[in-house]
């Protein structure tokens, strides 16, 4: 196990956003749901590259915490 940090942002109503991870190798990893091929087609998203969808609280967390 290496040193790593998980960040969690909580709203006034104690609702937590999904996590942000800072890893020992210098990456910032976000927790979200993978976007499927069907969703990409339906939403007119690019077919290539890894994609995740995140909730809006996570965006607030990124703005406030990073």
């Amino acid at each position: 196990m290496k040193f790593r940090v998980e960040l969690v942002w909580k709203d006034d109503d104690e609702t937590a956003a999904s996590s942000i991870y800072l890893t020992a190798d210098g990456r910032v990893i976000l927790q979200g749901a993978a976007v499927s091929r069907e969703e990409r087609e339906r939403l007119a998203l690019p077919a290539d590259g890894a994609m995740i969808s995140v909730d809006r609280r996570l965006i607030r967390a990124i703005k406030d915490m990073l």
């Binding site: 040193f3 960040l7 969690v8 104690e14 915490m65």
Partner: protein
């Protein structure tokens, strides 16, 4: 930067008695004493006449008499006697401060007295709870108060500053850290799994093999840090909430700014095992005190370094995450307090 509309620890209960006691808090000189009934009182430590510190004076009943010309003040700060003069000017008064005695500490409200609600005092019940063994103390720190807060929110430093007591390398290299930020609170949870116990834990917990160790740091503004720390033999279920066969302690910290470059540091250590064993309480306290002396030396050196260059650039690392979140909360609270002050001044 100071936050004013908060309760701060002003003194330990034993520091305040029938002899006036002076202390500078948030750059304000304050004199403390107890009335004949034992209630703590806090007044501006500066006579309205010629500004001698009232802490150089003496108590006459419940009146505080200035050492210089004998003016006497009541517990609300009103001058009630001027030797050789019947008429007392209405301006002959000093500021009085709300104070509350709780958890072996005397707390003071440094802001608007109308907002001084004792229910807002941060909970430190471990210091006087019969289910815990505890001992507390005071350190004078030659640094800004936020350096102490930073220190307690990032315990990676234990591996380097306190390697002979409460630290070891595992803290910096093998920890899983979770930082949870709420609007006015930061909790840093750190687990060190299946690693050797640090020297102090071996001494007081008797560990002979690897442990699962936790550090849960609860930050409450402006400068209260309550640490839940302990260890159990590895693999016995502590991360899942089953704390058996180990030790649990609370490290309790309240930092009160004295000036921008000096601080009052009130701290205590509590344990939930063998709680009536005063010898054990002292042994744990002395181990932690040794570590805290090491911290105080670091704070002073940091402040001296900061004094040489105004606002030097600094590098942040992953372990600073809790520190950064706390600083952002403090900056926001300060901005809000200043905005409210300016708004009320404009009315």
């Amino acid at each position: 930067m100071f936050l004013r509309n908060y309760w701060y620890v002003a003194a330990s209960d034993s520091e305040i008695g029938r002899k006036p006691f002076g202390r500078l808090i948030l750059n304000e000189p304050i004199v403390f004493f107890r009335t004949e009934d034992g209630a703590p009182v806090a007044l501006e430590d500066r006579c309205a006449h010629r500004h001698l510190p009232l802490s150089m004076g003496k108590l006459v009943g419940d009146r505080l008499q200035c050492h210089y010309h004998g003016l006497q003040y009541d517990t609300a700060g009103r001058c009630v006697r001027i030797p050789g003069q019947d008429q007392i000017p209405s301006t002959a008064k000093v500021k009085s401060y709300p104070v509350v005695e709780r958890h072996r500490w005397v707390w003071i409200w440094m802001g608007d007295p109308a907002l001084a609600d004792p229910a807002k005092i941060t909970d430190f019940h471990w210091l006087d709870d019969p289910d815990w063994g505890a001992k507390s103390s005071y350190l004078h720190v030659k640094s800004n108060w936020q350096l102490v807060v930073d220190n307690l929110l990032d315990l990676t430093h234990l591996a380097f500053v306190h390697e002979t007591t409460i630290g070891n390398a595992a803290l910096a290299e093998h920890a899983v850290v979770k930082v949870t930020r709420a609007p006015n609170n930061v909790v840093v949870t750190r687990w060190i799994i299946d690693q050797p116990a640090p020297p102090t834990f071996v001494k007081v917990g008797g560990f002979t093999s690897n442990v699962d160790r936790w550090q849960i740091i609860d930050f409450v503004p402006p400068a209260f840090l309550r640490l839940d720390v302990g260890a159990t033999p590895t693999g016995t279920g502590a991360p899942e909430g089953k704390r058996v066969g180990g030790i649990t302690m609370r490290n309790l910290n309240a930092i009160t700014p004295e000036t921008e470059k000096t601080s009052h540091y009130f701290w205590g250590q509590a344990h939930d095992f063998d709680v009536k064993n005063a010898e054990l309480t002292n042994k744990i306290f002395e181990q932690i005190q040794t570590a805290f002396y090491e911290d105080v030396a670091v704070f002073s050196a940091q402040q001296r370094s900061l004094d040489l260059v105004a606002d030097p650039p600094q590098v942040d690392i992953n372990a600073d995450t809790g520190v950064i979140q706390a600083r952002r909360i403090l900056d926001r609270l300060h901005d809000e307090e200043q905005a409210a002050l300016h708004a009320s001044a404009a009315e």
